[in-house]
Symmetry: D2
Subunit: 336 residues, 4 copies
């Protein structure tokens, strides 16, 4: 079977990374088009995509007939104007999270996807492809540890750029836990509440963090999320699952242990790029393989919508300090 | 210097344990009296305290002139009637936590202690004598990790007897974190809030747990406490400290690692008796040593009162689901 | 650039695994030919290699013009008759270890390769592609831990088939440490000595193991290797490096930690397939990428010869119990 | 029962430590006499032993009638002249290892002890009182992991003083493993062999280490010991036990874990004083308790002799590089 011709839309940090990944590590696919308005970025990415062509809009790329699938890696606010023509063209899409910044926009995307008669969109919640999350999910489903009662999550970034806002604590960062909690529990989040710890003065001045987010699920499982974006020492994502009869922990740092200078230990991950490197590869490889079979193999647009709706409630919770219920549209049969 | 003659009041589980400890592992002290109304318990304890005499009340023991210091290990509701005569006698006291079940009773004890003109009471918050808690406190005080921002605590018991009540989740169990959070942060707890995870159906029918307790400190540091008394697999107490520049974790299980039958790992503690064995020994040894110098060397009656007042707010928080402010009496200069 | 057309020679356990790997996870390559005399095995492998053609000899495959590179995964005694025609055809080769079972055969291969005027052979010592080995090598080279003084290695298999012989302890298993010790120390092994521990009675009757192998390097670094093929509990490969100022350990088991039933711990690897899964993928991907550039990117035929010569000495050491010096041919300038 | 009056003989590093231990942490015992020729050392020790009297010889202390038991902490060459009068006086003895520097001297001590008609000597192999060694011994004896096949031991000191000699590698350091291997395996060491790794240039000039010692036991279990006294980073003693069906490891560093500056980890022990602090306390407490019952509760003079004989062979093995058989005297029925 010939390689899948993928248009990567957006050649910023994430997009450039995906171009290298597809070219160098993914079987059965190639980057055939780079869609990016910025000439410099486009040229930098082209260097890693032999044979790819540069376009400034997806429409041009589609018109050129070199695109069989689309990987969207633009900032979230530009997802909708790329998703809609891609859906109109009827081609498979891997869309980086969030599906869209607002639940209203996500609902429009759901409409458009349903109009095509086929699930075309997969959303890039890559943690679902991390070995340890999968192992934990199996443990929960298997029942050997008893019922799941609670999840204690920590999500820690070393630093964030000045452009990172308080709202992004929810929309860019906690959104991963919002998806993962549902993935692990198979139960929707029904309410969100946000608490503040002591502010980290090493954080950019306009940020008020770390925050502690309570995610209430329909099942009764409570998820506590420490969200921390200025912890300086590295990048760390951990989840501790509290069962009736057991505790399970994932996300512990690994690698070579060194005893030196009176201490022992190892190197912490510097960013999500190393922490989730294998998960990103696996996500793209499985998407390519599924795409060739005419399927998706990961979170759907409906999952993207649910996360978007929960984030909207989360942003309200962040500013009010109150527990905020999450309101969801009814699930179309199409997404069952 | 001759051995310190200690009356152990109460020869139940804890008291009997202390009798053995003092006889077999503590330098410079002996159990001279066992005060216990139950004849069977008393005799069992006497077997481990060569030379000790049995009394049914502390007054009798004091009158017999064989007591230089008192270790109170009765249930909490009997602490006040033992503390008052011991204070009247002007002798040093180590009182198991809680000082008293209510803040009102604690205030009466504070009055009585002040009337003696001397700090005589040490309260048995033994975690302050655990090496790792001490290490963490030093790290916080030292400042090398930046300011402390938050504490994530887990307190897990395998099982509890049917006599254990929801209120005891706060008064018997979270009380340890209440003391330790202040010990670590040097900042009083100003408010408490309680959330419920999914109920553990392996818990006794009348219990609704695990609970997740938020302890708000004056300093802004937020402590999240998972309180779990039916986790089946063993006994585990962990604290994760979130700093500006670092994370520190204490309470990780240790010991021999075994690779067998497709798994690797070790044995978990079965109860607080093994988890905090060294801390109990150290607490009593340091108390004995300090007592001989006419001092106390650990949490005072004032610390006991603060914990009692915070617990009262915690019990209200448990039932209302609301954030409840903690009200404290003014600190007497005597306790500065 | 079009996909590299690879002939996989040998469709047994390892070969079949490589077919799946290349088809499903390796970018820029495809299995174009499966060379395997056994019809059943060939058909099973073809199911995972869309578009590949089945041949019974490499000559047929070469003659058909569908082969640009060769991956040799037959048993070691069949390597030479495949390597020679492949070299004659002048195409790049990835040859599973050992290069050949005897140093004499390896020298013939070196002759044939030199005759082509170009390094075409890479030998499948996949540990060099394992992240932790690479990390350790960098630590050694970097010098921050001081000079390397010794290596303590453990190589443990759960079980081996009855067909596994004592000689294979060296040739099939210790050969990995033989290569890795040189890779880590950049110093050839000059002598080998073998000690026996107590025999494992769970081992097949004809095996006398575990063995403890001392690898003496020219640099003075001594490597102690525990070689153990019946340890039952799983598969484990560890190395502890002893430096002047530090100790470094690699190969510690990782993954989800579970506290349950009075124990804590995790799942051990069941075989080399999971322990070194990422290393195998990385080895093949880097070989494909290098091959397209006309290079090799891993251990050469010379490395294969050195391991073969050391193994021959090791087999003598195994039977004599004496320290046996390793004799190497002079290194042709071609391999500098 | 009154406190046991102990004469501590030798107030150097170890003796002073034992004085503090007995005074501050051991129940049922006191230091009644300090026997030390050096006035300054004696006075320093007396400050930690209220009520103790200073003597320059053990005979003087015995004559003064204030000694019920003796703890010998002088350098090894002075053990015999203290042991003999103590045995003659018929009082219990805890003698720091080695019992004596030579097997001949040890045999004389055995004679003298037998003449008293009672086992009076316990030798200070304190590792037998370390929780993890005891746990490992139970695992071996229990048989659940199958038969023990081999032991991989590492014994690492940060630094040693210039006065430390190559011979002391065996007599002062490996002697611990020599005792422990027999304690764990219940099988005598029948031969010893010593290998050198690359020399550590941070070691004092006259030392040639690390060394790798093979201890062959009668049972067939082979123990490999890395002996390393200049590892700079701290103090570490580990044992890995290789079973038919399992691996067990003891001696892993524990304590608070810190994630900071791109790394995670903890603090390594700085010396045996912290690594084996609890074992030393337990050894002395159990010796005191047993002494009061008229028993010993630990390794006997016979154990001391066996270690001494094995060390003598070890010193020969160190210099010859050959495997050296250990020759033992016949075991007197007295020591069965």
């Amino acid at each position: 079977m010939p390689d899948l011709n993928i248009a990567v839309v957006g050649a910023g940090l994430m997009g450039a990374d995906h171009v290298i990944r597809i070219t160098e590590r993914i079987a059965g696919a190639r980057v055939s088009a780079i869609v990016e308005p910025d000439e410099g970025r486009a040229q930098a990415a082209l260097a890693h995509a032999p044979g790819a062509v540069h376009f400034t809009t997806l429409d041009d790329a589609l018109a050129a007939g070199v695109v069989e699938a689309v990987l969207i890696a633009t900032p979230g606010q530009f997802h909708e104007p790329v998703l809609l023509p891609a859906l109109a063209a009827g081609i498979p899409i891997l869309c980086e999270k969030p599906l869209t910044p607002t639940p209203e926009a996500s609902l429009r995307i759901l409409e458009a996807e349903q109009a095509t008669g086929k699930k075309l969109i997969q959303v890039g919640f890559m943690r679902r492809f991390d070995t340890e999350y999968m192992e934990l999910r199996e443990l929960i489903a298997g029942g050997t540890a008893g019922e799941l009662l609670a999840l204690n999550c920590a999500h820690r970034n070393g630093t964030v750029p000045d452009s990172y806002t308080n709202t992004m604590l929810i929309e860019d960062s906690v959104v991963h836990e919002i998806d993962v909690v549902r993935y692990l529990t198979d139960s929707p989040i029904v309410a969100i509440e946000v608490k503040h710890g002591k502010r980290n003065t090493l954080s950019p001045d306009h940020l008020n963090e770390p925050i502690f987010v309570l995610l209430y699920t329909e099942s009764g499982v409570l998820a506590n999320v420490e969200m921390n974006v200025s912890v300086q020492f590295g990048y760390q994502v951990k989840t501790e699952a509290v069962f009736q009869k057991a505790i399970a922990e994932i996300g512990r740092t690994t690698g070579m242990t060194l005893w030196q200078d009176g201490r022992y230990g190892g190197v912490e991950n510097a960013s999500f790029k190393t922490r989730f490197a294998a998960a990103y590869d696996s996500q793209i490889q499985r998407w390519v393989n599924a795409t060739k079979r005419g399927e998706i193999d990961g979170p759907s647009a409906w999952d993207g919508y649910l996360a978007s709706a929960a984030c909207a409630a989360g942003v309200t919770a962040l500013t009010t300090g109150e527990r905020v219920d999450v309101v969801y549209a009814e699930r179309p049969a199409f997404y069952n």
